[in-house]
């Protein structure tokens, strides 16, 4: 897939490699780089996924990085119905309808 100048894209770069990172990090963090992903408009005339490109971010900065997505879409969603939660509504409504203290007082 190829991106053209002006298209909305996402780039990736490593900010700190493992040996450049701060001290006193947990083991799982220490061994991986500090990575960055930023979106912006492609400055290069053409580029394909994996190319090092330059983008202009919405704040007007020009930064470079590896092209990892073209017109990236948001992938978060509503998830699935959660069986452990889906009956909470009926349950609490039922408790509220049970004859109880507050009616008596």
């Amino acid at each position: 897939m190829q991106a053209k100048k002006g298209e909305w894209v996402q780039v990736y770069s490593v900010i700190l490699s493992p040996n450049e990172r701060a001290e006193h990090l947990p083991e799982s963090t220490k061994k991986v780089p500090l990575e960055m992903r930023v979106k912006g408009f492609l400055i290069n005339d053409f580029a394909k996924i994996g190319d090092i490109v330059e983008i202009e971010t919405p704040s007007g900065r020009k930064i470079s990085g590896k092209l990892i997505a073209i017109n990236p879409k948001y992938i978060h969603d509503f998830g699935e119905p959660i069986p452990e939660l889906i009956k909470v509504g009926p349950e609490v409504r039922k408790i509220l309808h049970e004859p109880g203290r507050d009616e008596v007082e």
Partner: protein, 478 residues
């Protein structure tokens, strides 16, 4: 050494921070670790009248105070006779970007504009990002939000992704980083490179912006009930929410209101761990911020943190992730309000607290937040399952295991709180202060400062210091 290396930038920390917030913090220092907190808040912040005016300009604040009549009724169904306080909630989701964070952002961005900064930068994975982006849009400032978003596999928690999306919708640039405390380093670097304003959550502006929240609670409750709230429950993370709200409550005269801080219990999860990062459902309002920022506020991104939670907290309780999801569902199904979940941390605590209080008491939950794809319990719990977290019904406190198991209550009577010993926190504060400043002896003014910062008699402060010294020498002796 490379000018942009971690070490080089961290060395320029104070210089960058000073330029990017435009505050000469030094002039408030009294002696050693002591500084004049109230003078700083007065001279640097804004009066509540000014804050109101600024917020009215951008339609921030003046949100509804909603009585949760059905939840109150439910609480009474499961309480001892005569118990079950009335619960009100401040519907902060009605702010322009959907959370109380608009109050903080409105002040920071106003100040940045006034001081001639061309843009603002905020380091946050929370709703504050959307708030700063929204306010920056209103005031024509450039905006960069720096988020801790992904683990090393490139997986992002849906709630954080949603917050990033919201920022982008307002035209902000979102810098998504992987896990690690070096987010601070990168923020400094960007502040230096852009010359933008540091819209920190911990400046006097960001705190003053919240004071209206506490003030409005008192005003609104007074208008309706002719009384002050008996209890206000505040979700506690970095301390700003608590500090600002209580300052507002006090300014409105609510001097006898009990202030209860509430955080989600994430005990056992390491906040800087790439592995643990996606094993939590809550990105803020949890113990990973709440405890460290209480015991050492000045770990923040400004030299002096204006958020001083131990000055304002009467009680600190923890709830579990499962409880928060449960009450989020309750709020939708019983009160017709889809909100949170993160904003419902204090609601979960409030329900447990209301059960213990007399019926004629009033508990105010201090915030809600907007919700939707990514934020809803269904999104969060689907993600948690994918991360290998067990989801089950059961006792939400006894069976809870952060990072391994989320337990949804089977009955509202299982909603409870875990008490945090405030004295232990205050002792930790003293320990941290001694350790981080490498200091064993304190001047009278320093002791007075600590005493104020902890709301603890000077005698107790000195006793804790002595015990800490002994402990240290004991430890050394061993």
């Amino acid at each position: 050494m490379n000018r942009y290396s971690y070490q080089a930038v961290m060395k320029r920390k104070n210089e960058i921070m000073k330029k990017s917030v435009g505050i000469d913090y030094e002039k408030f220092r009294v002696e050693g670790i002591a500084f004049d907190y109230e003078r700083m808040m007065k001279e640097v912040g804004y009066s509540i009248e000014e804050v109101r005016k600024i917020q009215d300009e951008v339609s921030v604040g003046r949100t509804p105070l909603v009585e949760l009549k059905n939840i109150t009724k439910l609480v009474r169904k499961i309480s001892k006779p005569g118990k079950g306080a009335r619960i009100f909630i401040k519907d902060e989701a009605c702010n322009p970007s959907g959370s109380f964070k608009d109050r903080r952002a409105s002040l920071s961005v106003y100040h940045a504009k006034k001081k001639g900064y061309k843009g603002v930068i905020a380091a946050t994975s929370g709703n504050y990002g959307a708030a700063v982006a929204s306010q920056a849009a209103k005031r024509f400032l450039k905006c960069i939000i720096i988020q801790e978003t992904y683990d090393s596999r490139g997986i992002g928690q849906p709630e954080i992704l949603e917050k990033g999306r919201a920022c982008e919708a307002y035209g902000a640039e979102v810098v998504q980083l992987s896990v690690g405390p070096e987010l601070f380093y990168y923020s400094l670097l960007l502040l230096e490179q852009t010359g933008y304003f540091n819209a920190s959550l911990y400046t006097p502006f960001a705190i003053a912006g919240i004071e209206t929240l506490g003030y409005e609670i008192v005003e609104q409750l007074w208008e309706r009930e002719r009384r002050f709230p008996d209890v206000v429950v505040v979700t506690h993370a970095g301390g700003g929410n608590l500090t600002g709200t209580v300052r507002g409550l006090l300014k409105a005269g609510a001097k006898d209101t009990e202030i209860i801080a509430a955080s989600v219990n994430l005990k056992g999860l390491h906040m800087a761990s790439d592995e643990d990062f996606n094993r939590k459902s809550f990105t803020t309002g949890h113990t990973g911020f709440g405890i460290p920022f209480a015991v050492f506020p000045d770990r923040s991104d400004v030299p002096i943190n204006a958020a001083r939670p131990l000055r304002y907290m009467d009680r600190y309780v923890l709830v579990t992730q499962g409880e928060v999801f449960y009450v989020t569902e309750m709020l939708a199904q019983l009160e017709g309000m889809q909100r949170g979940p993160a904003g419902n941390t204090s609601l979960a605590a409030a329900i447990a607290i209301a059960r213990e209080l007399d019926k004629d008491k009033i508990v105010v939950v201090q915030e809600t937040e907007y919700t939707g794809a990514g934020k809803l319990p269904s999104a969060q719990l689907t993600f948690a399952k994918k991360m290998g977290i067990e989801i089950k019904r059961g006792d939400p406190i006894k069976e809870d295991k952060p990072g391994e198991r989320i337990v949804i209550p089977e009955h509202p009577s299982q909603l409870g709180v875990i008490e945090v010993n405030l004295l232990d926190l205050k002792r930790s504060y003293i320990k941290e202060t001694m350790k981080r400043n490498n200091k064993h002896n304190f001047s009278e003014k320093e002791l007075e400062f600590i005493s104020e910062d902890l709301r603890l008699p000077i005698e107790a402060v000195t006793q804790f210091i002595d015990e800490e010294k002994e402990g240290k020498s004991n430890a050394k002796g061993r």
